[in-house]
Amino acid sequence: MSRSLLSSSRNKWIFLICWVVWALAHFGILYGWEMNWQTSATDAMLSNFLLAGACLLIFNNLRFYRPKRYAPLFLLALCLAVTAFWLFLTDLALKFLLPTQDSFISASRPVRFNIGFLLTGCSAMISLLWYHSEEQHDNMQLKLETESIAKDAELYSLRQQLQPHFLFNSLNSISALVGSDPELSRKMIQQLSAFLRGTLNKDDKGNIRLSEELEHLELYLEIEKVRFGHRLQTLIDVQDQDLLIPPMVLQPIVENAIKFGLYDTIGVVSIEISSRREGNDLVITVQNPYDPETADPRKGTGFGLNSIRRRLFLLFSRNDLVTTSYDQSTFKTIVKIPQYDQGNNN
């Protein structure tokens, strides 16, 4: 809602002063025309008081409703109607207060109407301009806000995708390998580059094949294996690799599994990824060990899977696509990807 034209006290004062000046001019003209001063004063005060009311009516009307089509016609009709109503009221009131001036009131009616119409017309124009600029200002504000929110989100997701902790540690491993195993260091540089390139290319371009996503994941897991030596074992058993999944769904789930299964545990760990088709769904299971002493799987979804749940909800309008289960030492994430819109996305 735009601010009202008279919301600032400055504008209120301007409005009031204009009317006082206008009423004084009114009084001056009548008095100069040899009307007695009581008649002049009564007419000036009454007419202009009511006319100010009429203009307020127009301000208010235009604040809440501004026609998009036929605006000139609407304004004309509005001003004519308000002016006619004002003239009718003024007539009644003047006749009541100045019973002896009947002929003057009748004779001046056309002039009154013209002046009234001019002033209501002016008010309509002014308020239209005002609300238009207010609207624009509001829109600008909204746009700026939206942009800044979008930018924050983008920065956040960029940062998430780049995984600084993973990136810098991998670079550190490469730095170590340069001395001891130059060939492996070169291989790791290539793997890391391919992984980063894949991450950067993953703008939301619709669904991708599971096989494509797995290729990207393999790169990631290979790098982690170099970093952690023999500690990490992976077991990948995927079927139906041609089925489609949205990008950036499986990756964060596996990252999560690595975070709790590898970064936060001691000894050899095994991370298992499997997939199969169940009716119309592609069902992917990721299983990782966890340390019950430092991680609590009961806490909500446990392991920060909320954003994936949210994403899948936005895509498929279903809340049951990500489920988790756990026992004493393993945590399992199961994600279902409905395949019914397969035709549309290919």
Binding site: H165, F168, N169, L171, N172, A176, R227, F228, D264
Partner: protein, 246 residues
């Protein structure tokens, strides 16, 4: 001869430190550790002069491991990316190496160690550890050594703390544990909405309190869910009255 221990969960990261250390024949790496648990054991065994310590490690992080060490050696911290930790280092002017670091940067850190070592000094870490303990990821738990084992106590399992000479006794569902720290430390680390220092020697988890009882003259006792009774001083009573809105 200077004894050094490298503690990092990534073998290649340790390899790099060892490689850089090759140009310092007087520094000998006596042990390498994969995590804080091994670290604590190795430090007790070897009493090293110098520690290369990664922050992010499994189960307990580098800061939590240091808390468990009584005579701390000089520490050169290494980390890849941890905004909180880095801010803490900067605030306390503690040197650290950002992975991947260069040989010249590494040499500078060794030089600083050598300068202090010659004067028989080490980089002070007490205040750094206090700041670290208040970080979000660490605030939710307290790591203690009990017997030969390391125990991670969730803050929510703590009933109350009791001062015991140079230690603080932490009383939980599972019994009590000693931590080589001061009450003032915990007063800084724990949030005021969860714990109140009710007495010079006692700090209580607010949600554990069931009622207060008058005890002798001007003294009170806080009755806890567990049945324990904790002395409350006059000043402590004033604080409690405000918090519990009595």
């Amino acid at each position: 001869m200077i004894k050094a221990i490298i503690i990092d969960d990534e073998p290649l990261a340790r390899l790099l430190v060892k490689e850089y250390l090759a140009s310092y024949p007087d520094i000998r790496v006596v042990q390498e550790c994969n995590d804080g648990f091994e670290g604590v054991k190795a430090i007790m065994q070897e009493q090293p002069d110098l520690l290369f310590l990664d922050i992010q490690m499994p189960k307990i992080n580098g800061f939590e491991m240091l808390e468990l060490i009584e005579n701390r050696p000089h520490v050169i911290f290494t980390t890849a990316f941890d905004e909180h930790a880095i801010r803490a280092f900067d605030n306390h002017a503690v040197d650290y190496l950002l992975k991947p670091f260069s040989k010249s940067r590494f040499d500078k850190a060794i030089q600083q160690f050598n300068n202090l070592h010659k004067q028989n000094r080490i980089m002070p870490t007490t205040e750094l550890l206090e700041t670290a303990a208040a970080l979000p990821q660490q605030k939710a738990r307290v790591v203690v050594k009990t017997g030969g084992k390391i125990k991670i106590i969730p803050t929510s399992a703590i009933h109350y703390l009791e001062a015991a000479d140079d230690y603080v006794k932490i009383i939980t569902n599972e019994g009590s544990f000693l931590k080589n720290n001061t009450m003032a430390h915990f007063e800084k680390v724990f949030s005021e909405s969860e714990f109140v220092r009710v007495h010079r020697s006692y700090m209580v988890a607010i949600e554990q309190i069931t009622r207060l009882e008058l005890y002798e003259k001007e003294g009170y006792l806080a009755m806890l869910r567990s049945g324990a009774r904790v002395p409350v001083s006059k000043a402590g009573y004033t604080k409690l009255k405000k918090i519990l809105a009595l």
